[in-house]
Amino acid sequence: MNLEVLLLDDRSEEQLFVDLERLAAYPAIPVQVWIPSRDEGLGERVARYCAGNTRFEVFAHGGARRGQRLAHAAGRARGDLLLALPEGATLDPRGLSELARVPRATRFLAAAPRAASAPLVGRFGLMEMLVEMLGPALHGASFAVAPAALNELGQRRPAGVLNPAEELYKLSALELAPYFPERSIGREWALGTPLVTPSSDSIDVERASAWRLQELVALARVAEHWDTSEHGQRYRAERLQQLGAAHVAALRVWLDSRNPHVRAGLAPTWLAPRAEAPARSEPRGPLPSAGPSAGPSMPRADPSIGSTR
């Protein structure tokens, strides 16, 4: 399977060139670089840097939402699997070397949880994956998705699914009966080693476990759209039971990270951002992954998206 890397999210110029330098070390991997169209100077500098190297394609976006960029990136894909590389993250040669043995039919690829005692290698289903996620976090940055699956999912995302839901949303939508009742579980493939090395591991336990919980909440909302046919009902009942069990386990992990503070006599308080600190554009949590992030209100193709080349 051939991987294609997307530099989809805005980042500082300095960081962008660091990321490009790192990617230059992998001559077999095509790269799409997305630059805000308002930043013409940066676009020109990146285009100059990439000139003569057909592996790199540079695109401008006029502030389009991430989901839109992803949809466009999927439409232009040259690789079998797309991986959105987070800012500062690097590819892991060990993970890449395993790509060769991934079956051609694979639509979704994930690395094993970082702290898994025994790396998961091979095919496994949604609930096994969920269970793994509840302890050591399965890093969203390691998810690579087939372009066709991305397009399919972008059209099928049900209303009301909140961010941060992307990782589990993808997993569930790829598997669930309402959309693909004829397909069996197991089209996913897990690598035993990470595809990428995360740039930051500073997420504290409370936030990381809260994030997982939010994902499960989002998955429960997806479940409302599950198939109601006779076949679907059986599937649904079984999955809802598993989902409830995963939910309860995730709650305990989250509360065990929160309770010691409360027991020590401290009160949970949400502090407003400091005036001098730039507001975050997205909630903190595991690094973003490739996947449809726009909701049902996703606008039509933005005319401001186009190649600078």
């Binding site: 989002a218 409360v262 401290l266 009160a267 949970p268 308080t269 502090l271 951002p273 909630p283 903190r284």
Partner: protein, 307 residues
């Protein structure tokens, strides 16, 4: 009666306890290491008391928390049924009488009742909707909700076995409160009963434990996130206790349904929590755990005034 830093209120609480119409009570008062004159006030009133009830006073060497203090209080009596009160609340004279009669008539393991609430008794309002009738609340019905006004912990009276069967509340897993949990325990034993009679005044003030359960002074989203976190904690604790009980005694159709209902309630509450958290995180707010603003003890106020 458990007390902690109740110097301003404990006189009224003790007088109300001593004025109970039930013929002869064991009244156990345990102070949780107050650093004001709470215990001295109690001791003075006890020394003056001449009446039918037997008084037992106890003072903890240090502040160990309300749950620990309750366990200490229970250690000082062998009574099978206990009427709980706190040093900042005021019981109606017939409270014990009505609760005991209800216990004898229903066999419920825990009885809660209507109360009024406010800073002072003169401007207090009912806590539960007044149209709610008296009656038992089943395990499954309880499992459909998190906390409701019919579960006011300050109004609880209970059989000792809700602790001997389940043990003290595990503060590593449930750092605050017991209002949510004890009715579930009772429903697994002899039942939980709500008595729609106004039998006590529950005082609201800055120093009460309830104020530390959530960010009451914060933004609406902050309030919801912290309150739901507290709520979810208690729901999960209830689920774990129901499962543990089923493990010890075997499950029944009712217990199995209660389990499923609790999981559904948990998922619903977690969704509300998640929505609030998404709003906060999206706006760049950060969760911190800070020392709560506690009400100063009377001795501190006096020291400040003199300074």
């Amino acid at each position: 009666m458990t007390t902690y830093r109740h110097e301003r209120f404990v006189g009224a609480a003790v007088e109300a306890a001593l004025a109970q119409t039930w013929p002869a009570l064991d009244i156990v008062i345990s102070d949780d290491g107050s650093d004001d004159r709470t215990f001295e006030c109690v001791a003075e009133l006890a020394a003056q008391y001449r009446g039918p009830h037997r008084l037992v006073l106890s003072r903890q060497g240090s502040n160990r928390g309300a749950s620990h203090n309750l366990m200490e209080t229970m250690r000082l009596t062998e009574a099978p049924f206990l009427v709980l009160t706190h040093g900042d609340d005021i019981s109606a004279p017939e409270r014990v009488q009505r609760v005991a009669e209800t216990w004898l008539a229903t066999g419920a393991s825990l009885i809660a009742h209507q109360a009024t609430s406010g800073p002072e008794p003169t401007n207090a309002r009912p806590i539960a909707p007044v149209e709610l009738p008296s009656g038992p609340i089943s395990l499954v019905e309880l499992s459909r909700t998190s906390w409701t006004p019919r579960m006011l912990g300050a109004s609880f009276s209970f059989e000792r076995r809700i602790f001997t069967e389940f043990g003290p509340l595990d503060r590593a897993r449930l750092p605050r409160g017991g209002d949510h949990v004890l009715p579930t325990r009772a429903a697994l034993l002899g039942g939980f009963y709500y008595l729609a009679e106004q039998l006590m005044f529950w005082r609201r003030h800055a120093g009460q434990m309830t104020q530390t359960t959530a960010d009451f002074g914060g933004s609406p989203a902050s309030h919801v996130e912290t309150w739901k976190a507290y709520d979810i904690n208690a729901l999960l604790y209830r689920l774990e206790e129901v499962r543990a009980f089923a493990g010890r005694h075997g499950s029944t159709a009712e217990i199995a349904e209660a389990e499923r209902t609790l999981v559904a309630t948990l998922m619903r509450s977690t969704r509300e929590w998640s929505e609030a958290r998404t709003v906060l995180e999206g706006a760049g707010h950060a969760l911190e755990f800070v020392a709560p603003r506690r009400a100063p003890a009377m001795t501190e106020i006096k020291r400040e005034v003199h300074a």
